[in-house]
């Protein structure tokens, strides 16, 4: 089964995955577009926790997964570049967490905001590059002189900028709240 969801808080995402396991839907992976894949199975209590980290090389990513495994957490979903890293507690202890301090738990939001911010800056610079190309190609620059299909990439980029912008605002609000308590 697949479900599409977007979360602005890690705690809520963890609670969602664990509640699905209670209903007999075992989380398998999360695709890049935000689809959660589940396998049907026995109703059970699982303890899934989420970290946020992006890796520059495969070796660091492997080392990261091995350290979590040493601590009793199996890596179940996430790639070196995906950001969200999903871990399943191997001994099923419901109270086990992957964070033992508040600061380290909150620092996930800082890393996520940083990546989103880089993405939005990249997207904005792509948009300007595209506009520049249009400008040079059409000697009489006007919107109507450019074929409709050539606007598609620009429209996609602008949609993505809006999407990231909204997410940055929502996540930043949560992050500020977490810092307070």
């Amino acid at each position: 089964m697949k479900q599409f969801k977007i979360f602005d808080e890690f705690d809520k995402e963890e609670a969602y995955l664990n509640s699905m396991a209670k209903k007999g839907y075992i989380f398998k992976k999360c695709s890049n577009l935000g689809f959660y894949h589940f396998l049907e199975g026995e109703k059970q209590n699982l303890n899934i926790r989420i970290d946020y980290r992006v890796f520059n090389n495969k070796r660091d990513f492997e080392e990261y997964k091995i350290m979590f495994n040493d601590f009793g957490w199996e890596h179940i979903s996430g790639t070196a570049y995906s950001g969200n890293q999903y871990f399943l507690c191997k001994d099923n202890g419901a109270n086990n967490d992957i964070f033992s301090s508040k600061e380290s738990s909150t620092s996930r939001y800082k890393r996520l905001l940083k990546i989103f911010f880089i993405n939005i800056i990249l997207l904005i610079s792509y948009c300007f590059t595209i506009l520049e190309c249009y400008w040079y190609n059409g000697s009489n620059f006007s919107i109507s002189s450019i074929e409709l299909w050539s606007w598609i990439p620009l429209i996609i980029f602008i949609t993505m900028i809006l999407f990231y912008g909204i997410r940055i605002i929502l996540v930043y609000k949560k992050y500020k709240n977490k810092l307070k308590y």
Partner: protein, 106 residues
């Protein structure tokens, strides 16, 4: 970089730096910290990974070559030793102020 700007240390950082006077990988550090704290401090996986990553970036610990290619082995650096000495001095001052008040000083 002025080391005293990094004070005070978090409990996690303090114990990791102490434990790394002897080299070790992530899980071994956690076990040593648990031992050092009399079972009171159990550093979790994500917290440990983040702390080691930060300490490495600040050159307070170093990663040393080992036979185990799958796990990084860490050790405290000279500036790490300097930093923990600064922290212990800070803590000593706090404790002596406490003792002074408790003895009824004014």
């Amino acid at each position: 970089m002025n080391l005293s700007k990094k004070l005070p240390l978090t409990e996690t950082t303090y114990y990791i730096l102490l434990a790394l006077h002897q080299e070790g990988h992530g899980y071994a550090i956690m076990q040593r910290v648990e031992e050092l704290s009399g079972g009171k401090v159990r550093i979790a996986a994500g917290t440990m990974y983040g702390a080691l990553d930060n300490l490495l970036k600040q050159n307070l610990i170093i990663s040393i070559p080992s036979q185990d290619t799958r796990r990084k082995i860490y050790k405290i650096s000279t500036s790490g030793i300097e930093l923990i000495d600064l922290e212990v001095n800070r803590l000593k001052n706090l404790i002596s102020a406490y003792k002074f008040i408790k003895k009824g000083g004014s």
